[in-house]
Amino acid sequence: MSRVANKINRRNFLQQSIVFSGSSLVLCYANDLLFPPVLHAAETKQKSSSFKPNVFIEIPSSGKINLICHRSEMGQGARTSMVMLLAEELEVDWQDINIVQGGADASYGDQNTDGSTSVRLNYMALRKAGASARSMLVQAAANRWNVKPADCYAKASKVFSKTGAALTYNELAAEAAKLPVPTNVALKEKSEFQVIGKDKELVDAKAITAGKAMYGIDTKIPKMLVASLERSPSVGGKIKSVNSKATLQVKGVQKVVTLDAIPQPVNTNASVAVVANNYWAALKGREKLIVEWTPPKGAQESSSNYEKELTSALDQPGHAMRKEGNFQDGKKAAKVNVQKQYYTPYLVHAMMEPLACIAYVQRGRCEVWAPTQDPQRAQKAVADFLKIPAAKVQIHITLLGGGFGRKSQPDFILEAVALSQKLKAPVKIIWRREDEVKHGFYHAQAMQRIEAGLDANNNIAYWRHKTAFPTIQKVFNPKALTAADWELGMGCTDMPYDVKNIECLACDTPSSVRIGWLRSVCHVFHAFAVNSMMDELSAGAKMDPIEFRLKLLKRPTTEVKPDFADKPEFRFNSKRMARVMEEVRQFAKWQKGVAKGRGQGFANHYSFFSYVAMVVEASMAKDNKVVVHAVHCVADCGVVVNPDTVKAQLEGAVIFGLSLALHGKITLQNGVVVQSNFDDYPVVRMEEAPKIHIKLIDSDEIPTGIGEPGVPPVAPALCAAIQAAGGKRFTQLPLV
């Protein structure tokens, strides 16, 4: 189930024990469905001589040690960090490891690779899995040598005795497999780490640089057909007529097939599939296809109206998601009053690998190969669609050429499944770039209005934040219109400054397109508005923007619940935020001799339980072209598993954030997306990239997210920098 759908049920935490029939695994869920289960081998003997104490480790009697990665790899290093977590406690030589990509299987626990959760959710569970396996191998050796386990130790895939005897894990596998899995094992202290906390090259780097890495789009299976789909230009459109005469004459084209739309929670649109024995023929055939569409009923969105539509949405009373104090009292006490409106457009993911999927539907079963971020959601959707048990649906997770949240959606998988079912043959659908841009699950456009004021002591007297954006919940429920509390919890209701009189309101607004989650989701637009307004207030207070925020952070804040968890260790900690702010101030040499014509801008944001502070240095050239010179970023994401990967994620988030700040804009004309490719949906290229400097806080706190937290501060820090450089204060994105 997707993390988003899980959140709808997140208070239904269950304690469950599930026994899989026919397998030797007993599965126990921990406190809540989001955390991976602790896995135990059954009491009964394992049939093979392989040592399989849990679903993440398999040690045969000879050959490589198999460590299973159950999370999707899209460049964030999941295949490296998950394996590092296992390897640390298992005490295995890295050279002995063979990494296996796990397919969709509930016994792995959560496999939904979004929300910056891979390390956070697996830090303890994978260490425990490695530790318990190690202790069983040590026990097996101790038994063999007739000594106490305490007189043995494990290192580099071997167990050693005090006397110097050694046995490899391969040699011990069969005996270890017969032992009971311990329920309690001690884990290493941070000071004992040999693997965690040290830079590790991404495990796929060699294959990638040799051109041997295989992504979803590269995958092939025997006898597969290839297809290109002409989809309804607007969501909910229907096929009126199809003329495939010229298409079928193209050499290589085999068939032209129509596919019906699949409703929530899959959300595909009606399409016409051109099926061929090679992709070029499918593309060429599709060019010659003549399809007439019946547009969906009801008014369709045009971006030329957006300002009017969204402003009138903001003028509605809205639904209060946070309300404390008395707004009128606050207004009375205010000496400085500011009101600003902020607009941010629809965005599309534009990951480098367009969508692609292979599906092979046979009687009573289905096999899928896809670059998916959410294999279990796909497995369930496929099972429901084909009306077969989930156990009969095999989802193979390929390498992903980028995801950013687009590949969590199962639409592209269900299209392939529906097509394979119709063709009674295996088929691969490849999306053109134009398809990806025009048939997305867009990041919601948003219009926000913040009214705020300062009292005589330069404290925030009142703060009213209204936010109007189409809700992601429409992915699951066609009638959904009001944003969920967790959507506002991404940067709006959890604003961390001391304000006695505060109101956060969600204003309903519909959308003609599918809305999805894009790297840092609602944090993108909420961080933009909140940071921009904090800068306005700091100017009103005639204070430095960092100093102004620090002053308000230091006071006790109303406890705000962050999205995704109710656990105390994940609650906002103002000291940790203050620290990254103070560190970046030094790191960036804040306001110390900035070159003429340039400006520095600051922004900070808390998201996915991590703390980020950023300084951007920019200038505006004569032709109004924005030049970004440097970005300094300090982040606290708790214990860092692979420091170089964490830095790389922040470097990448800066570029991603600059793309959306400078260029990203999807517009609609009568419900049809206007943009098509990188010419009319530009992204940042090397010539625009600034020098990026990253500093990580050395922390003992529990690891928290890092794939997304670097994105939200970029746009507001850039706008602050442009203003500091002598330009105007932009309140709309994109800038160029």
Binding site: A205, G211, M352, E353, M686
Partner: protein, 157 residues
């Protein structure tokens, strides 16, 4: 008989549609999937290969124009991943998702073959046709500088 030589091997193109972009010939007919599809319009650089030693966008070159040429793909950049750019890429942990990297490497190799000592500005100009959505530009640039220094020092090409 019209043919294309790819990584020193000859392939007949007689049976193929002359309009077929070289990219799809490489990926599907020859079966080398290291060269990637990203946009189909020569905008993103993921499909970059060398044609007679020059980087070109294979998604935008029909077979009819490629016939008679020597093509080098990422698989042919080196026999064993030992090209100084590939070594630099691994030393600096350049790739994230890696999808754009074959195109980046082939384009960078083309640059270094022409300019043994590129400035940062030269690199920006040469490499801005290659998009990376993971944002690895800073490391790509460092990788090119590292490889070019290595190549100048060892006299390797």
């Amino acid at each position: 008989m019209a043919e294309v030589r790819i990584n020193s091997k000859a392939y007949s193109v007689d049976k193929e549609d002359p309009e077929m972009p070289l990219l799809w010939f490489i990926r599907e007919v020859v079966g080398l999937t290291g060269t990637k599809f990203g946009c189909g319009k020569g905008l993103c650089g993921a499909c970059t290969v060398h044609l007679n030693g020059q980087p070109i966008r294979s998604c935008s070159l029909p077979l009819s124009a490629a016939a008679g040429s020597e093509i080098t793909t990422i698989e042919g950049l080196s026999a064993d991943g030992s090209h100084p750019l590939q070594v630099a890429w691994q030393t600096l942990n350049v790739p994230q998702c890696g999808y754009c990297q074959p195109g980046q490497l082939m384009n960078a190799a083309g640059l270094l073959a022409q300019n043994a000592n590129p400035s940062e500005g030269d690199i920006d100009s040469a490499m801005s046709g290659n998009i990376c959505r993971c944002g690895t530009y800073q490391r790509i640039k460092k990788g090119i500088l590292m490889a070019s220094e290595n190549m100048r020092r060892t006299g390797k090409k």
